[in-house]
């Protein structure tokens, strides 16, 4: 899903954000999730069994919808033509950097503060004796 959204960003002429999206999500956030799941070494939750029982009929909806989506994507890919008109490139790294370091300099610096605080918060929360 995240890769698809990055592809859509490329289609919308936001190349910088597409690259950033892949790096941040695939490279950082999802690795973090997987690492935490691995670290916790979860036991099987007995309450999950009931839920799968309750949601069993959902696959009768999900499988036709998935096949429909597959056909839809296939038909779209087969029918795709050349782009009508390549308008001006809006989302290059140059344009984004130009705007971010002039008009949005203060929010940009504040994000570094936010990340620092989040880093310290994560370290404190994950400590042994909270």
């Amino acid at each position: 899903m995240l890769t698809s959204i990055s592809a859509l960003f490329v289609l919308l002429q936001a190349e910088f954000l597409a690259v950033i999206n892949v790096i941040v999500y695939a490279g950082a956030i999802m690795v973090l999730f997987v690492f935490v799941i691995m670290l916790l070494n979860l036991p099987a939750d007995p309450s999950d069994e009931k839920e799968t029982d309750r949601l069993r009929w959902l696959k009768f909806i999900g499988i036709p919808l998935g096949i429909f989506l597959l056909f839809l994507v296939g038909a779209t890919v087969l029918n795709v033509g050349t782009s009508a008109n390549a308008t001006q490139m809006t989302g290059t790294a140059e344009a984004i950097g130009q705007s971010m370091f002039t008009d949005y300099l203060l929010p940009f610096e504040l994000t570094s503060l936010l990340i620092l605080i989040a880093l310290m918060g994560a370290v404190v929360f994950a400590k042994k004796d909270l």
């Binding site: 859509l8 936001a14 008109n85 809006t90 971010m100 929360f125």
Partner: protein, 100 residues
């Protein structure tokens, strides 16, 4: 070019998936992933409008949303670790005390 409508519809559907996952799931990691899906839906809408209007501001905002999402994931997963250590479970129904 794909019309703007389709991007907005996809964004709405993704947001709906995130909201439904947030309300139906009981595993806290699934809740965090649902929040990420919602943030991505909003990002997609932002970039679609930014491209439609030919302005860069929407993409700048998406950058900030990405930063907040990364910070939120880091703190949220640290909280998951702390919660699992204290409760031995990831089910949010079982963490029903503010203090113990």
């Amino acid at each position: 070019m794909i019309p703007l409508n389709w991007y907005l519809i996809l964004g709405a559907v993704l947001f709906l998936v995130g909201v439904l996952g947030f309300f139906l799931k009981r595993n806290i990691i699934a809740l965090l992933l649902s929040v990420e899906i919602m943030l991505n839906a909003v990002n997609l809408t932002f970039v679609a409008f930014s491209s439609q209007h030919g302005q860069i501001r929407g993409q700048i905002f998406v950058f900030f949303v990405l930063v907040v999402a990364a910070a939120e994931a880091a703190v949220g997963l640290a909280l998951v670790i702390a919660m699992f250590r204290n409760r031995e479970s990831l089910n949010v129904d079982r963490s029903n005390l503010l203090k113990w």
